[in-house]
């Protein structure tokens, strides 16, 4: 074990890269979730169809295949990304597809009376979603987003396969250097577990903050 711990600078670097990938991927995924999720309930059929194609494409094929496609195939068409960007794009777009379902589900879960109330207040469609529907939908989405954040964090391990030096990549280096197998992998499993557990705590805190003082009534409660 001591031999492995001598490589601690690599492990720290790997941890930072993993966290960076997770955070950047999560930001992209969040943006994509809202755009695609709201597009799914658009009144324009073409917007809805585009959103469904996006969703089925990214949910239907494997995240690993998408990542390899972005990193190895797109350059053949002259679209170049460095490894980190390709990793973030693949993680973000993939998890964003799942997130969009959470956004759509949460918006649809806000009860019908809220729509009627907005109409009674003569709100425009934008005002209705901005001030009435989405603020109530967000607390409903947060638990799902929390689960997806963990999935995203786990997905970043796959980025090691497109040459990104994250934790998994570093563990492979240490394995080759020390000829030890159990220790480096066990160590990074624990680091991954700690990162995930911290993320779970953060999401729980956010969930508490958002649901404070609100008595959210969803369509299912009646």
């Amino acid at each position: 074990m001591n031999e492995v711990l001598e490589f601690y600078p690599l492990l720290i670097k790997g941890t930072i890269t993993t966290i960076q990938l997770t955070v950047m991927g999560a930001i992209l995924a969040l943006i994509v979730s809202f755009i695609v999720g709201i597009a799914r309930i658009s009144s324009f059929a073409s917007v809805r169809v585009a959103a469904i194609i996006y969703l089925e494409f990214f949910r239907g094929s494997s995240a690993l295949v998408q990542m390899f496609f972005i990193y190895f195939v797109l350059p053949m068409w002259g679209i170049y990304f460095d490894a980190i960007t390709a990793g973030v794009i693949a993680c973000g777009l993939n998890v964003g597809a799942y997130g969009s379902e959470a956004v759509r589900g949460a918006i649809l879960a806000v009860s019908k009376e809220q729509h009627e109330a907005s109409k009674a207040l003569n709100y425009s469609s934008y005002e209705k979603y901005r001030y009435v529907i989405i603020p109530q939908a967000i607390p409903i989405m947060i638990p799902t987003f929390g689960n997806l954040l963990i999935e995203l964090m786990k997905l970043t391990a796959v980025c090691s396969l497109i040459t990104i030096s994250d934790l998994t990549f570093m563990a492979q280096i240490i394995r080759v250097q020390t000829a030890l197998t159990l220790e480096p992998f066990l160590l990074i499993l624990i680091i991954y577990f700690i990162i995930a557990t911290v993320l779970v705590q953060i999401v729980d805190m956010i969930a508490k903050k958002f649901s404070k003082g609100r008595n959210i009534m969803t369509a299912g409660d009646k």
């Binding site: 995240a63 998408q66 689960n147 970043t156 391990a157 992998f185 990074i188």
Partner: protein, 221 residues
């Protein structure tokens, strides 16, 4: 770079072989995930707090760490302890164990979903626990579990390409091998993506039909 049909045709037989391995892996892994998941769900209802708490942290540990690293651990570490398993066996065991932590939540939610009154009714009919499970609880618990379990089957299918990195020649690795020998990623990778879509989109539609039919339980995680 132009799409070259010659490459596309040439890689197709290998991809089909890979697809068979992928589907086999999915089926075996899902069986492990379902059986183990049910066992975990039952043990999580244990009266002993020690069993419940230790099981909780064990499943959380598996859930919160990447499958790829778990695959590496089993594939590289077990031989050190004198256990030699085929790559395919390693792969399906890891996938099965990983997803059993997800399916156990489905089983638990499904069992919780049957109201307490049903247990009391079974008791009042003087049913023993076996009869209660068989005639009262399971017939009500199982149908709502089917759609989420089907969805996890599709999720597992999409995780199988990770087995490529412990040398299982499934769909993804078959394409990768071709790419490396002919220096073309375009056709093999695109076809792999298409194969995944061809299998998983109809499966997802089927799962959606199941959701309409069975009124699924809500699994919050």
């Amino acid at each position: 770079m132009e799409w070259n049909w010659d490459h596309a045709y040439a890689v197709l037989p290998q991809l089909l072989k890979g697809l068979v391995i992928t589907i086999e892996a999915t089926i075996v892994a899902s069986l492990i995930a379902y059986i183990l998941g049910l066992a975990i769900a039952i043990f999580k209802m244990s009266k002993s707090k020690f069993v419940r708490v230790s099981l909780y942290w064990m499943t959380e540990f598996v859930r919160r760490t990447p499958i790829l690293v778990q695959l590496y651990v089993v594939f590289y570490v077990l031989p050190d302890f004198g256990i030699f398993l085929e790559a395919f066996t390693c792969g399906v065991i890891v996938l099965g164990i990983h997803f059993s932590t997800y399916t156990s939540e489905v089983f638990r939610a499904g069992i919780d979903n049957v109201s307490k009154g049903q247990w009391e009714a079974a008791k009042s009919l003087n049913y023993n626990p076996y009869q209660a499970w068989k005639h009262v609880i399971l017939p009500q618990a199982i149908p709502p579990m089917i759609p989420p379990l089907a969805n996890y089957l599709i999720t597992m299918f999409k995780e199988t390409p990770l087995l490529a990195f412990i040398t299982v020649v499934e769909l993804f690795r078959a394409a990768d091998q071709y790419s490396n020998s002919y220096y073309t990623y375009l056709e093999p990778m695109t076809l792999v993506g298409v194969f995944f879509l061809i299998v998983s989109i109809p499966s997802a539609m089927l799962a959606m039909k199941l959701e309409k039919k069975f009124k699924p339980i809500k699994v919050t995680r």
